[in-house]
Symmetry: C2
Subunit: 322 residues, 2 copies
């Protein structure tokens, strides 16, 4: 089976692509995909690579790798308030393994259907296992969420719970013994994070700046502070922790994972105080838990973390590749 | 130096991006790039990965790797007749090597300036050396070149010369001894192919179907035949060969490389007989050599190669990864 048969079998025929997909003049099988962007929308694009044994264990279930690859990229669209439209996939594989490809494409497909995004092109290559996905979304120019529009005196919210994916990584590395329910929950949070795509589009009018939490809350908040030229204070006591996290770690470790762990792909959002009630109501209607974890200030001095009212010392300020 | 400093130093400050780049609302440094696509244009996108020791020698000059990474992707835009606009870059590196990054970004920059395309986003990751580039271009819907619009009775042209990049690969693998001039020429053709971006936009109204020659002429012609449901006959005697190729190989080997070698990134174009004179004139005005190498037929039986009027036996029908 050559590269062309492989693409056909696993990615073209499997339902990932559709000849009638919205806005697609020409999908997989030509030199370029040809797309019709919507008039009066900004095109939001993000390209991310996941490398085996850096971003996921090489031996992981390929369906979960497929899910994670698309979910973490969709999270970048969520962070901009964009509606998902199309994605491209560059897949580098050490060998043509039909079982792996079948699983991987099934994982991708589940997520693509859930988020209504269509595979329009890509590339397959022989080499060490890695996956690059570029997502393409659209957003009204006035509603695009960015990192550089936060102001002093705003409230800082995060969605969901934090630290769960970092707990999964600890477990993969053999550094965590926990009960089966927590183990399953952490693993699911790592491979199947919930990109807040729909919620971000609804909440965008009430949010001044946003980022998805991939590097760790404090590090990602730091990106917003730097780009918006503000400071931020976070009350670590307020970080939303899952029951599994609370059960599996002592308090200090749990807070550390939630503050710095990364990989949760929840949203961190800045909300003006005047919009607080409306924001919380809208989030509740969407069924998305949000927690008020801090506030911004005019001091351009980075991110301060408080624990029980005292400045907190943390081991790290986020996940970094280099 | 962390990931963020690295991006800033080599890709943001180096001139690859510009805050005033046409159509860019927001470039590097946020979760997504935000772009303004042109009204009434199709967006053409293509994502390709280059893996060390598969697509280029790992020890190659990083500036040449940067050039090649962008040039081969621009060639996909040429094959669709699209005008380059923006690109994203996902770079996976085994270690943070400043010299390598400086060289690589300089190579990228040279090509980006030459083709007026702007870096708008991407990702850096730790892992085995590989480079994914997605290019974004725009094309009038009526002028988009595709693989599926060729008809029977058309003339098949190729640009430039063929087989030179394959000769370079032979040399990298220690299988070719040649004179210094030829060695330099082949190496340049491999690392610095000439994406026919401008020429394709001008010639598009006279061309029914096109593909860039990455897998080898016969294999790439096969893709057009399959998608357009036609057959093609190629006169191998007519394949355009460079003086270096002729000097370095016996005739049969030279023709074999030109027919099946791949990696030249020249264009293969289908032209109606009624447009022949106009096409040749327009190509001459552009200073782009074109060679008539065959014709299409209604027999949906793939690609036939003739050598001195007899059916030719070739060792392979193109480069394939798997």
């Amino acid at each position: 089976m050559n590269e062309f048969d492989l693409i056909k079998r696993y990615f073209q025929s499997g339902g990932l692509t559709s000849p009638v997909a919205d806005g697609v003049e020409l999908g997989i099988g030509d030199d370029c995909a040809l797309l019709y962007p919507s008039v009066d929308r900004l095109l939001a694009v993000s390209l991310d690579t996941l490398v085996a044994d850096v971003h996921f264990p090489a031996q992981a279930d390929p369906a979960l790798i497929g899910e994670r690859a698309l979910r973490v990229n969709l999270s970048d669209l969520a962070a901009c308030g964009a509606k998902p439209r199309w994605f491209t996939l560059a897949l580098t594989l050490p060998e043509m393994n039909k079982g792996w490809l079948a699983g991987f494409s099934q994982g991708l497909l589940r997520v693509a259907r859930e988020y209504d995004i269509h595979l329009v092109g890509g590339d397959t290559t022989k080499g060490p296992l890695s996956i690059s996905v570029q997502v393409h979304g659209e957003v009204e120019p006035k509603l695009a969420l960015r990192r550089d529009k936060a102001s002093a005196g705003e409230l800082i919210y995060v969605s969901g719970t934090l630290g769960d994916a970092a707990a999964a990584v600890r477990r993969f590395q053999g550094e965590l013994q926990t009960d089966e329910e927590a183990a399953i929950y952490f693993t699911d949070r790592f491979y199947r994070p919930t990109p807040r795509v729909h919620e971000a589009q609804i909440l965008a009018p009430l949010v001044t700046a946003a980022i998805d939490i991939s590097d760790g809350l404090l590090a990602d908040l730091g990106h917003i502070c730097e780009r918006s030229e503000i400071g931020a204070t976070v009350d670590l006591d307020r970080l939303p922790l899952s029951p599994s996290l609370i059960r599996s770690f002592d308090e200090k470790e749990a807070v550390q994972l939630a503050a710095s762990g990364g990989d949760d792909y929840e949203l961190c959002m800045f909300v003006p105080q005047t919009a607080q009630a409306q924001f919380e109501d809208a989030a509740a209607k969407l069924g998305m838990p949000v927690s008020l974890v801090g506030s911004s200030s005019s001091l351009h001095n980075g991110v301060k973390a408080l624990f029980r009212g005292e400045p907190a010392e943390l081991d790290s300020t986020g996940y970094q590749h280099f």
